[in-house]
C-alpha cells in the first residue's frame, strides 16, 4: 500500500516576464488501487498538476508539498521521481529519432528497475502488452514517436505504463484526439493495469467520455487552480448533464 499525498500545492509559471500562479492550493490523496479522475475546464490547471508532480522544469513550486510514502517528491530530479514509482502518460510525447521503441522500452525498464530485465520474460511481456493494445509487432522497430499517429502515441504511452509498472500513474488527457475504437483499446489497457497491479491512478480529462470505459473511484472538479468539488463517479454524470458552467459563475452555488 502506497500513498501519494499532495498538500496545499502552489505552482507558478513564467509568462510574459512575470510569474503567474496556476495552482492555488491543491489537496489530494491517492492510495494504491484507487483511480481518481480530475476534471475541469481548459486552463483550470489540470495539466499543470500532472507536470508539476512529474517535475517539469517549466513549473515552479512556490508552496505546499508532494510526498510519496512520506518521501519528499519535490526534492527529487525528474528521473528520480520516475524511479520512485511515478509515471506520466503525456499528451504530447516527443520524438526520439534513431531510437527504436524496443530499445527505448528496455532502456527505460532497466533504468526504473536498476537492472536489465530478464530477456525471455521481457520479450514475452512486451509482445503480450502490444497485442493487448492491438499494436503490430513491427511497431517495436519504429523510432520512438517518429511519424506516430495521435492514437499510436497514446497506445505507446499506455504500453510504457504497462511495462514499467509504476506505483502511481498520471494520465494527462490520454483520451484527447482518440476515436471511439482507439479510446476503447486504450481504456482496456488502462483497466488491465488497474486490475493487474496495485496502482494508484490520476486520470486527467476534459471530457466524461473516457469515464464510460474507466470507472473512477473518485472525481475531483478542478476550477481556477484548485479542487472545487469532489465526489464519486456520479459527479462525472452530473457534469455530463450540466457541464462546467455552474463552476465558472462565481455567483452560482
Amino acid at each position: 500500500m502506497a500513498t501519494l499525498e499532495i498538500r496545499d500545492l502552489h505552482v507558478s509559471v513564467e509568462a510574459d516576464g512575470g510569474s503567474k500562479e496556476i495552482l492555488r492550493g491543491v489537496d489530494l490523496t491517492i492510495r494504491s488501487g484507487e483511480t481518481h479522475a480530475i476534471m475541469g475546464p481548459n486552463g483550470s490547471g489540470k495539466s499543470t498538476l500532472a507536470y508539476s508532480i512529474a517535475g517539469h522544469p517549466k513549473y515552479e513550486v512556490t508552496g505546499g508539498s508532494v510526498t510519496l510514502d512520506g518521501e519528499d517528491v519535490l526534492e527529487m530530479s525528474v528521473d528520480e521521481r520516475a524511479r520512485a514509482g511515478l509515471f506520466l502518460a503525456m499528451q504530447y510525447p516527443v520524438e526520439v529519432p534513431g531510437v527504436t521503441v524496443s530499445n527505448f522500452l528496455r532502456t527505460a525498464k532497466t533504468a526504473i528497475d536498476g537492472e536489465a530485465p530478464k530477456l525471455r520474460t521481457w520479450v514475452k511481456d512486451v509482445r503480450s502488452a502490444m497485442e493487448g493494445l492491438r499494436m503490430d509487432a513491427s511497431f517495436a522497430e519504429r523510432n520512438v514517436n517518429e511519424g506516430f499517429s495521435g492514437g499510436e502515441k497514446k497506445r505507446h504511452e499506455i504500453l510504457q505504463m504497462e511495462l514499467l509498472r509504476p506505483k502511481f500513474a498520471i494520465l494527462d488527457e490520454t483520451d484527447s484526439g482518440l476515436d471511439v475504437d482507439a479510446l476503447k483499446v486504450v481504456s482496456e489497457g488502462v483497466n488491465r493495469v488497474r486490475q493487474g497491479n496495485d496502482v494508484g491512478m490520476l486520470l486527467i480529462t476534459h471530457y466524461t467520455r473516457i469515464l464510460r470505459y474507466i470507472t473512477p473511484d473518485f472525481v475531483h472538479v478542478f476550477v481556477d487552480g484548485k479542487v472545487a468539488e469532489q465526489g464519486g463517479p456520479e459527479l462525472a454524470d452530473a457534469l455530463e448533464e450540466s457541464g462546467y458552467d455552474r463552476f465558472l459563475t462565481p455567483a452560482a452555488g
Binding site: 517549466k58 527529487m76 516527443v94 520524438e95
Partner: protein
C-alpha cells in the same frame, strides 16, 4: 528536434523545377560567389591561387588565423609516417608524386592543396588489382608527430574489384593531405577517412574521387579529433553509370572547427550521387561547417542526386553552418533534391526521457547514439564502427562533466526556458524533380 537555424532563400523552391533549367540557385551566398561552381579554379600551380584574405566564398567560414601558414609551400617540413596493413595482393608503394602516378584523378582546388602538391614530399599508392575481391579492409594510419607535413595518397581500385580502404589520421601537428581515389570500371570501393587527431592538430585536406563506368564508390568521412579540420571532397565521374555516396559524421566540441566541403560534379550521363552528413556539436565555441555543392552540367542527362545535412546542437554556444547548393543545367534528370536541418537537443526531449527513469547523461547518450546510429552502421567495418561509437560516448562523458554529474532542475527551479510544446517539427526542404 527544434530547428534553430536553417539556410533557405525565399522563393528558391521554384528554381529547381524542370521548367527552370539553366538557372542556378544557392543558399547562404557569401561575398562574391562564382557565377557557377564550375568556374572555381583548379590548378597544380600554387601561383595560380592568390593568397586568400578570408573573405572569399570558399574561405569565409574557416578560422583563418589558425590555417594561414598552410598557404605557403614551405609550410611542410616532412612527410608523415604511414602505417599500412593490407591483405595479400594489394600493391602498396611509396615514392614521389610521379613515381606513384598521382595527378590523373586529382587537381588541387585551392591554394592549400596546390601548396601541398608543390611541396611534394612522399606520396603513397594503394592499388587493388582488377577483379580482386578483398575480404579484409586495407588499413592505413597516418600518424602526425607534431611537425608540419604534406602528403599525397593514391587509392587505385582496378576494374571490377571490390575493396574497403580505411585511412585513419591520428597524432598531432599540422597536416596538408591530398587523397586521390580512382575507381575503375565496375569497381566497388569504400573509402573511409577518419580524422581522429589529438587536440591541437590542424588538417586541411582535399580528397578527389573519380568514379569509373558503372563503378560504385562510397566515401565516408568521420571527423572527431583535431582543433581544425577542413576536408574538401570532390567527386567526378569518368564515364556513365557511376554511383557515388558521400557519407559523413562529425562531433565538434568546444574550440573545435570541423569543416566539410563537398562538390559533386555531374557531367557524365546516368550517374547517381547521394550525400548525407550528420553532425553533433557541444560546448561553447564548438563549430561545424558543411557545404554541399552539386552541379548537374548540361550534358549530365539521367542524373539522380540527393544531399542531406543534419546537425544536432547539444548545448548553447555551439554553431553549425549548413549550406547546400544545387545547380542544375539540364531538366532531363531523374531527380535532384537537398535538405538541411539543424536541431537541438531540447528540454522536452530531456524531460521525456528522464520521466522514464533515465538520468540526464544517459538521456543525452541515447539521443546522440540514436542520431548517429544509422549512418555509423553504413561504414560497413564493424571494428571501426564500434571504436568510433566508443569515442563518441567518451567525448560525451569527458567533455560534459556537468551533465554527467549534475542533477536536473526539476519543478522548483525556474532557470530553464519554457518548453517549446508541439514544436518538434524537423523542418526541412526537399526538392524533387
Amino acid at each position: 528536434m527544434t530547428v534553430v537555424e536553417e539556410n533557405r532563400t525565399p522563393g528558391d523552391e521554384l528554381a529547381d523545377t524542370p521548367g527552370a533549367t539553366g538557372r542556378a540557385h544557392s543558399h547562404g551566398a557569401g561575398t562574391v560567389p562564382d557565377a557557377s561552381r564550375a568556374a572555381r579554379r583548379t590548378s597544380f600551380e600554387v601561383a595560380d591561387f592568390a593568397v586568400p584574405t578570408g573573405r572569399e566564398e570558399e574561405w569565409r567560414f574557416s578560422p583563418f588565423a589558425r590555417i594561414k601558414a598552410l598557404f605557403e609551400v614551405a609550410a611542410a617540413e616532412s612527410a608523415p609516417a604511414l602505417e599500412v596493413s593490407a591483405p595479400e595482393g594489394v600493391e602498396v608503394r611509396s615514392g614521389s608524386l610521379e613515381e606513384v602516378g598521382a595527378g590523373t584523378g586529382f587537381v588541387p582546388g585551392d591554394r592549400v592543396a596546390a601548396a601541398a602538391w608543390q611541396a611534394g614530399g612522399q606520396a603513397h599508392l594503394v592499388r587493388i588489382p582488377a577483379e580482386a575481391e578483398l575480404d579484409e579492409p586495407v588499413l592505413l594510419t597516418l600518424r602526425g608527430t607534431g611537425g608540419a607535413t604534406s602528403g599525397h595518397l593514391v587509392v587505385d581500385a582496378g576494374r571490377h574489384s571490390r575493396a574497403t580502404v580505411v585511412l585513419d589520421h591520428v597524432g598531432s601537428g599540422t597536416h596538408r593531405g591530398g587523397v586521390e581515389v580512382r575507381a575503375g570500371d565496375g569497381a566497388q570501393l569504400t573509402f573511409v577517412t577518419l580524422q581522429e587527431w589529438d587536440s591541437g592538430a590542424v588538417q586541411v585536406s582535399q580528397q578527389d574521387v573519380l568514379v569509373g563506368r558503372d563503378a560504385t564508390v562510397k566515401h565516408f568521412a568521420v571527423t572527431l579529433g583535431g582543433d581544425v579540420v577542413r576536408l574538401s571532397t570532390n567527386v567526378r565521374y569518368a564515364a556513365p553509370g557511376g554511383d557515388a555516396q558521400c557519407l559523413g559524421l562529425y562531433f565538434s566540441d568546444a574550440g573545435q572547427h570541423l569543416e566539410h566541403r563537398l562538390f559533386v560534379d555531374h557531367e557524365a550521363t546516368h550517374c547517381k550521387s547521394y550525400v548525407e552528413y550528420k553532425g553533433a556539436l557541444q560546448g561553447e565555441t564548438a563549430r561545424s561547417v558543411w557545404i554541399g555543392d552539386v552541379l548537374i552540367r548540361a550534358a549530365a542527362e539521367g542524373t539522380e542526386t540527393y544531399e542531406l545535412n543534419r546537425n544536432l546542437v547539444l548545448t548553447d554556444g555551439a554553431r553549425a553552418d549548413s549550406v547546400p547548393n544545387l545547380e542544375i543545367e539540364t531538366g532531363e534528370i531523374v531527380g535532384a533534391g537537398h535538405a538541411s536541418a539543424t536541431g537541438r537537443f531540447d528540454d522536452e526531449q530531456l524531460f521525456y526521457l528522464q520521466s522514464r527513469g533515465l538520468a540526464e547523461a544517459d538521456a543525452r547518450r541515447l539521443v546522440v547514439r540514436g542520431f548517429f546510429a544509422d549512418i555509423l552502421q553504413r561504414i560497413g567495418v564493424p571494428a571501426v564502427q564500434e571504436r568510433l561509437l566508443a569515442t563518441i560516448e567518451t567525448e560525451l562523458e569527458t567533455t560534459m562533466p556537468a551533465a554527467a554529474g549534475a542533477t536536473v532542475p526539476a519543478a522548483g527551479s525556474s532557470t530553464m526556458p519554457a518548453p517549446a510544446g508541439g514544436q518538434q517539427t524537423d523542418a526541412e526542404k526537399a526538392e524533387e524533380n
